[in-house]
C-alpha cells in the first residue's frame, strides 16, 4: 500500500487471537457474545482513531478488523477497550495477540473465510460465522466502503476456493474416515444398524459421527461390564447387550465398531460365514479401533464383509492429509490473486488515480467516436482533425473540473473513500468488473 506523506486513505488492520496463539481459557475470556459485539462496535466506531470496525468471535478465534488512519493507534484503542471490559491488564493477552496490516490483513481474512486458518482445515462452518459477524457489523453501521469490499471479496474468494479445490471434501480423522468408508459401502446410512463393542473415546466419536450422518437404525452396545454398556446405550439411545449376544446381533447389525482391551480376536472368520448366509449377504462393515485387534482380518476375505483396522484407517487419513496439503497450495494461490486484485482497487481509491482513470475513460470514448465519425466526412483535412481532437480534450477538462474539485474537498467529516468508490462505479472504472 502507498505510504507517502500525502496518504489520506484509511489503512486496514486486524488484531486477534486464535486456537494457535491462545489457549481455550483465554479465548473464552476474550470472546464476544452477539450483544457484546454490537455494543463494542458502537463504542469503537465512536472513537476518532477508528473508521470502520468488524468483530469476529467464534470458539476458535476472536478478531477485530478495522480501518484507521494510524493502525497502531486503533489497535491501542482496541486493547484498552478489551482490557477495561474484561477487567484484565493488557499484558495478560498481548502475547497471544497477532496484528496484520494492509495486504497481510486482507490475505489473513481471505484465509479465515476459506477455512485455511481453521483448526480443522476446510471445515465449512467458519464462512457462515463470518457472514453473521459481517451482518452484525453492518447492522451496527460499523462498516464502510473498504471493509464492505474486503468482506464481499472474502466471501467470493472462499466460494471460489470451495468449488475449485478439494478443500473440505476429505476426511482427516478416524471417525471421518470410517463414515467415508461406510458411505462407499452402503451408499446412504439410513436405517443402518450399529453395534459398538467395548468403549473408548475414539469408538464413541465414530458412533456419534455415524449417527450424525443419518445412521438412524438401531444401536447395540456390548460391554464386558454391563452397567458401562447401559450407560453408553442411554447416551446413544440404543440397547445394551451381553458379550455372549454379539454373534446373534451380527445378523442384524451393519456397521460394527470394536474397541476392547481383549488380548485376542473377539470375532473370528469362522463365525462370519453362517452369519453372512443368515444376513442374505447384506454387506457387513467392521471398524476395528482396538490394539491388539478385536476382529479377525481374515473376515475381509469373505464376500460382502469388510474389515478396516486402525492402520487401514490411518492410511486413508494420511492420503487425505497429503491431498489436502496439495489443495491448500492451490487455495493459497487463489488467495494471492484475490489480494492483488483487491489491492488494485484499493490503490485506485485515491484522488490522483481516480481523476486520471476518469480522464482516460472519457478520452477513450471521445477518440473512439472521432474515429467512427471522421471517415464519413469528406472535406476534412489533417489540421481539422487535430482541431477537433483539441476541442474534445478541452471539453473533457471542463467536464472534469468540478468533479475533481469536489473529490479534493469532500469535507473533513465525510468519508472520502465513499465518494471515490461511487465515482469509480458511476463511470465503470474498475478493471475487473
Amino acid at each position: 500500500m502507498p505510504s507517502g506523506p500525502n496518504r489520506e486513505k484509511a489503512r486496514i488492520v486486524i488484531a486477534g487471537i486464535n486456537h494457535n496463539t491462545a489457549p481455550l481459557e483465554l479465548r473464552e475470556k476474550l470472546s464476544f457474545s452477539n450483544g457484546e459485539t454490537v455494543e463494542a462496535i458502537l463504542e469503537l466506531k465512536s472513537m476518532v482513531e477508528i473508521r470502520e470496525v468488524i468483530i469476529i468471535s467464534t470458539c476458535n478465534r476472536m478478531e477485530v478488523m478495522m480501518t484507521a488512519d494510524d493502525p497502531d493507534k486503533a489497535v491501542a484503542r482496541f486493547k484498552a477497550y478489551l482490557s477495561s471490559t474484561r477487567s484484565m491488564p493488557p499484558a495478560d493477552f498481548e502475547g497471544a495477540l497477532y496484528i496484520h496490516k494492509d495486504d497481510e490483513a486482507v490475505s489473513h481474512i481471505f484465509k479465515v473465510a476459506a477455512s485455511l486458518d481453521s483448526m480443522i482445515v476446510g471445515e465449512p462452518q467458519i464462512l457462515g460465522q463470518l457472514k453473521q459477524a459481517y451482518q452484525s457489523a453492518v447492522g451496527a453501521k460499523g462498516t464502510g466502503v473498504i471493509l464492505n469490499r474486503v468482506m464481499h471479496k472474502a466471501f467470493f474468494t472462499a466460494k471460489c476456493i470451495r468449488s475449485e479445490t478439494g478443500i473440505g471434501s476429505r476426511a482427516v480423522s478416524i471417525s471421518y474416515a470410517a463414515v467415508e468408508l461406510a458411505k462407499k459401502i452402503f451408499g446412504r446410512l439410513n436405517e443402518k444398524t450399529i453395534l459398538l463393542i467395548g468403549a473408548g473415546e475414539m469408538a464413541e466419536l465414530a458412533v456419534a459421527h455415524l449417527i450424525h450422518n443419518h445412521a438412524d437404525g438401531r444401536r447395540y452396545i456390548a460391554n464386558r461390564t454391563f452397567a458401562t454398556g447401559e450407560a453408553l446405550a442411554r447416551r446413544f439411545n440404543g440397547q445394551a447387550i451381553r458379550f455372549e449376544e454379539i454373534e446373534d446381533t451380527l445378523v442384524s447389525a451393519d456397521i460394527i465398531i470394536s474397541s476392547t482391551g481383549a488380548p485376542g480376536f473377539i470375532i473370528n472368520a469362522k463365525k462370519i460365514k453362517p452369519v453372512m448366509r443368515a444376513r442374505r449377504n447384506r454387506p457387513l462393515f467392521f471398524i476395528d479401533i482396538a490394539v491388539p485387534r478385536d476382529i479377525d482380518p481374515g473376515i475381509n476375505r469373505i464376500d460382502n464383509a469388510y474389515v478396516y483396522d486402525i492402520d487401514d484407517l490411518n492410511g486413508v487419513i494420511d492420503e487425505n492429509m497429503d491431498a489436502r496439503h496439495k489443495e491448500s497450495i492451490k487455495a493459497e494461490r487463489i488467495i494471492d490473486q484475490a489480494v492483488i486484485r483487491f489491492r488494485q482497487w484499493y490503490d485506485g481509491l485515491d484522488i490522483v488515480p481516480t481523476v486520471k482513470a476518469l480522464h482516460d475513460r472519457l478520452s477513450f470514448i471521445a477518440d473512439a467516436e472521432i474515429k467512427r465519425t471522421l471517415p464519413g466526412l469528406d472535406k476534412f483535412s489533417e489540421t481539422d482533425a487535430l482541431a477537433l481532437k483539441r476541442m474534445t480534450e478541452a471539453m473533457i477538462k471542463k467536464f472534469l473540473h468540478h468533479p475533481t474539485l469536489f473529490l479534493k474537498n469532500t469535507g473533513s467529516h465525510t468519508d472520502k473513500a465513499l465518494y471515490l468508490d461511487i465515482t469509480r462505479r458511476l463511470f465503470h472504472l474498475e478493471p475487473d468488473e
Binding site: 458411505k183 462407499k184 459401502i185 451408499g187 464376500d303 469388510y306 478396516y308 487401514d312 486413508v316
Partner: protein, 275 residues
C-alpha cells in the same frame, strides 16, 4: 445420400461424448459430464436420422445385414442410455456405455451395407416386437455388465484398501449393486417377452415355435443364466461380487449369441448378420 453422411457425424459426437465422460471420471467436474451427455444427445439425433432414413427406404426395421443390425443395436443402446439418464443415479456409467456405442457405430460404418433379398417375411407385428424387445433387453443387460465391472473395481478398491483412485471416483457398492440388479430385472423381462414374440413369429413364418436353431439354443442359454442369477438373488440373497461376475458372464454369452452364433454357426438368423 448414403447413411454414412449421417453416421460419421454421429460417430464423431459419440467419440466426443466418450471423451467427456472419461474426463468427468478423471477430474470429477460436473461440466464434463454435461458436455459428454450433450454430445451423446447430438450424436443420437444424427443416428436416429440415419435409422429413420433406412426405415423409410426399406419399409422395415433396418436389421437385414450385420451393418444394419449393429447400427440398430447401437441406436437402441444409445437411446436406452439417454432415457435412463434421467432416472439413473450412476452417472459414471457413461464411461462404459458411450464408448461401447461409439465402438458399435464405428464398426457399423466399416461393415459393408450389402443389399439382401430376404426370404423371410418381414411384415409381422410379432417380428417387430421381437426385434425391439430383444435389442432393448440386450442394451439393459449391457449396462448391467458395465455396472458389474464398476462394482468389481470398487469392491477390489475397498477390500485391498490401497486403490484410492477408484475408491474416490466410483459410487458406493450398494448403489452399483442395486442399479445392476434393476438393469437385470428390466433386461431379463424384455428378453423374455422378446423371445416369446420370436416364438410366435416363428410359428407364423415357419410353422413351429422352436427349431433347435443355434441362435435359439444360445439365446436359451443366456436366458437361463440370467434366470439363475435372479433366482439366486431372490431366494438366497446372492449379491455383490458373485452376482457381478455372473452378470458379466451372462453378457459375454449374450454377445456371442448376438454375433458369434451367426458368424460361426449359421442358422435362420444368419441372414440378418451377413456381411
Amino acid at each position: 445420400m448414403t447413411t454414412n453422411t449421417l453416421l460419421i457425424p454421429a460417430l464423431m459426437l459419440y467419440l466426443a461424448g466418450s471423451a467427456g465422460y472419461v474426463l468427468f471420471f478423471l477430474v470429477q467436474k460436473e461440466s464434463w459430464y454435461r458436455a459428454g451427455f450433450i454430445s451423446v444427445l447430438a450424436g443420437f439425433l444424427f443416428h436416429t436420422c440415419a435409422i429413420g432414413y433406412k426405415y423409410a427406404h426399406g419399409g422395415r426395421l433396418p436389421v437385414a445385414n450385420l451393418h444394419e443390425t449393429i447400427l440398430f443395436a447401437a441406436w437402441i443402446l444409445a437411446g436406452f442410455f439417454i432415457l435412463i439418464r434421467y432416472r439413473g443415479r450412476v452417472k459414471i456409467l457413461g464411461v462404459f456405455a458411450v464408448p461401447l456405442v461409439a465402438l458399435m457405430t464405428g464398426a457399423a460404418i466399416l461393415l459393408p451395407d450389402t443389399i439382401v433379398n430376404l426370404k423371410t417375411p418381414f411384415n409381422s407385428i410379432w417380428l417387430f416386437i421381437h426385434i425391439i424387445l430383444i435389442f432393448t433387453g440386450e442394451a439393459a443387460l449391457a449396462l448391467a455388465c458395465g455396472t458389474a465391472i464398476l462394482y468389481l473395481i470398487q469392491e477390489r478398491a475397498i477390500k485391498t484398501k490401497s486403490n484410492r483412485f477408484f475408491f474416490k471416483r466410483l459410487p458406493s457398492l450398494e448403489m452399483l449393486d442395486s442399479t445392476g440388479y434393476a438393469f437385470i430385472v428390466g433386461g431379463f423381462t424384455a428378453l423374455t417377452i422378446g423371445l416369446i414374440s420370436g416364438f410366435v413369429y416363428a410359428r407364423q413364418a415357419w410353422g413351429h415355435f422352436w427349431s433347435w436353431d443355434p441362435k435359439e439354443v444360445w439365446s436359451g442359454i443366456s436366458w437361463l443364466i440370467y434366470a439363475a442369477l435372479l433366482h439366486e438373488r431372490i431366494v438366497a440373497g446372492w449379491r455383490g461380487r458373485r452376482a457381478a461376475i455372473l452378470a458379466i458372464a451372462g453378457f459375454i454369452i449374450l454377445v456371442f449369441t448376438f454375433l458369434g452364433v451367426s458368424l460361426f454357426l449359421g442358422g435362420h438368423h444368419y441372414e440378418f448378420t451377413r456381411w
